[in-house]
Symmetry: C2
DNA sequence: TTGAAAGCGCTAACAT
DNA sequence: ATGTTAGCGCTTTCAA
């Protein structure tokens, strides 16, 4: 009891060759007699025989495993993204190998290499932080890779999908500007990250179009956390910086901002308006519900996975570098209702 | 460029046998001359050669992969748990295969079977919903399995770790009772789940000890979501049910409760006190911060993983079914400060 | 419809 | 210190 049967055992028991058993395992349409087929299936079931994916993988050099590397599962930003990948893989018979990079280039590199060791059929890299040098090297391993949420040189991946951060930032800023705000604080995560760079661009452009000069004392970069939003805003308040709204580069930062505002006795949105970015679940759960610029993470993740699998399976079409338009969600940290259109 | 080298290629190029290359790959302490070793390492590096974990897995029948099955990554409850597993695996050179069961026995079963196909070295099942029958069957496959957060017959797993839900519920209830509440609503997730059953027991006992008769109209089971907490509480309010506190079987439910209370214009905690369960990150982020009964998920996950690996590696000690004591965290949805002790 | 044989990339005795 | 040989569990020609 509990013995691990192999294809040879089944073959022997059924008085057929391994090849025949293999055929029914992969239910090759033709090539196996009905009776034989039934007999083999029966004993496989009876013996609780399960073909080893591992062995088939080495035989076919195709593992049906996909690697997903994200900064941190426990960051409230990623779960829906993972779920998108996981669901699409499930629906297509692939397994998911997950690892956390903590946005540390060294860890990211190691995990990326682990994935090639594991012979995954492809990998999805989220918000990668590797330097382009290593990524270029990585291509040597010939494992298809797609990026989510990070813009790199187009040759570094087989595909990518990101939100249009510049456009999103512009939307948020235009809204804030349109309700009369002039001094708008802008807080964002790591300054070097493409998303932040692009949002900064949107921030600048919106200001410029409104004829407002950019005040450096209002823009600050830190990381994508509640803590950063909270402490940085407390700091600004403490220093007596004047402002009438804040645009945050992530919902987490935005929530930190609201917390700081509350703690300081400022009414949101009556005195200060705030808009976040991303549209994570938490932005809707938190009270007051955060106005934000939403990117459809779950769907983006599915799409990225679809791209990857189509590349792997050689059925890939053309447009492989996608930028999706975010949408402005006005909730309770902004005053106006959505502008009709 | 981009060719996939194998151990044979390396052997050939270095004029040695595969065995020798294998030795340096696994850096067997003895058995390889210094010079040969360097030479082999050099060409491995130059050619970007990476040994196939897959192939080694079939050769050694040990994959260094662990399967983790959870209900839903995107449920705010699981991320820290996953992170605990992932971290411990990382530290020990194992890979993680993740899948979502959606608490659906059928999916759970399929994923469990996928894991044996993948020949993972062991699996961790979170809040499993399979019937004990299947779980008993599953043992036939001889893959070590540990449970987190669900109590099953001890023979169904090689180990398990759960919070002491009964005790936790009692703690919450005693606190609520001690501040004068008599009519305490109790909302929990799926009635069939062991956690809920145990908490119900704690609820009953606390009431009994306080000499209060259990009022069935105050207890309701649904699922572990904000929506359930919210809609059920709205319902109770609408029906005019009288109560002065609520104990929720999960933080998510608790937050839903607070939302409903706010919407109904009830002051929390002044008019109604509420205590949640679990101690997820959100309970601390949400405003008002939720009082709760915390279980150390991250550490529990690490411990479960430690148990699993020690079983796999045959270094397992004894106590394999652990129940951890939760702690009462009093925050802003309860009136009193912690009772000194 | 079925089988024999070679091969996938690696490890592990057992020799030398 | 190194090589030979036989596997690990499966797939895949090529024949029959």
């Amino acid at each position: 009891m509990g013995k691990k049967y192999t294809i040879s055992d089944i073959a022997e028991i059924c008085n057929v060759s391994k090849a025949t058993v293999s055929r029914v395992i992969n239910n090759k349409s033709c090539g196996v007699g009905e009776e034989t087929k039934r007999r083999i299936q029966k004993t496989m079931k009876e013996l609780n025989y399960r073909p080893s994916s591992l062995a088939r993988s080495v035989a076919t050099s195709c593992s049906h495993m996909i690697g997903l590397i994200i900064p941190d599962v426990s960051n409230l930003f990623y779960p829906s993204l993972i779920r998108g990948v996981s669901d699409y893989l499930d629906e297509n018979g692939y397994s998911l190998c997950l690892s956390n990079s903590d946005s540390d280039p060294k860890k990211e590199k190691n995990h990326l290499l682990s994935m090639v060791d594991l012979r995954v059929d492809g990998v999805i890299l989220c918000s990668g932080v590797s330097n382009e040098n290593f990524l270029a090297q990585y291509r040597k391993y010939n494992v298809p890779i797609v990026f989510i949420g990070r813009t790199f040189d187009i040759h570094l991946s087989d595909g990518s999908i990101t939100g249009d951060n510049t456009k999103g930032a512009e939307m948020a800023m235009k809204h804030l500007l349109s309700s009369g705000n002039r001094r708008i604080v802008y807080l964002d995560g790591n300054a070097g990250v493409s998303g932040a760079i692009q949002r900064y661009e949107g921030y600048r452009q919106a200001l410029m179009q409104a004829g407002i000069e950019l005040d450096e004392s209002l823009v600050h970069f830190g990381d994508f956390t509640i803590e950063f939003g909270q402490t940085k805003l407390e700091e600004l308040i403490r220093f007596g910086v004047k402002f009438d709204a804040v645009f945050a580069g992530s919902d987490l930062i935005g929530i930190g901002v609201v917390k700081a505002l509350h703690a300081a006795g400022k009414k949101v949105p009556d005195e200060i308006e705030v808009i976040g970015f991303d549209g994570i679940e938490l932005s809707e759960i938190f009270e007051p519900q955060l106005s934000t610029v939403r990117k459809p993470h779950y769907d983006m993740a599915r799409e990225a996975t679809r791209m990857l699998l189509s590349i792997i399976e050689g059925t890939a079409g053309e447009i492989r570098h996608i930028s999706v338009q975010p949408t402005l969600i006005l909730r309770n940290t902004t005053r106006k209702k959505p502008i009709s259109n």
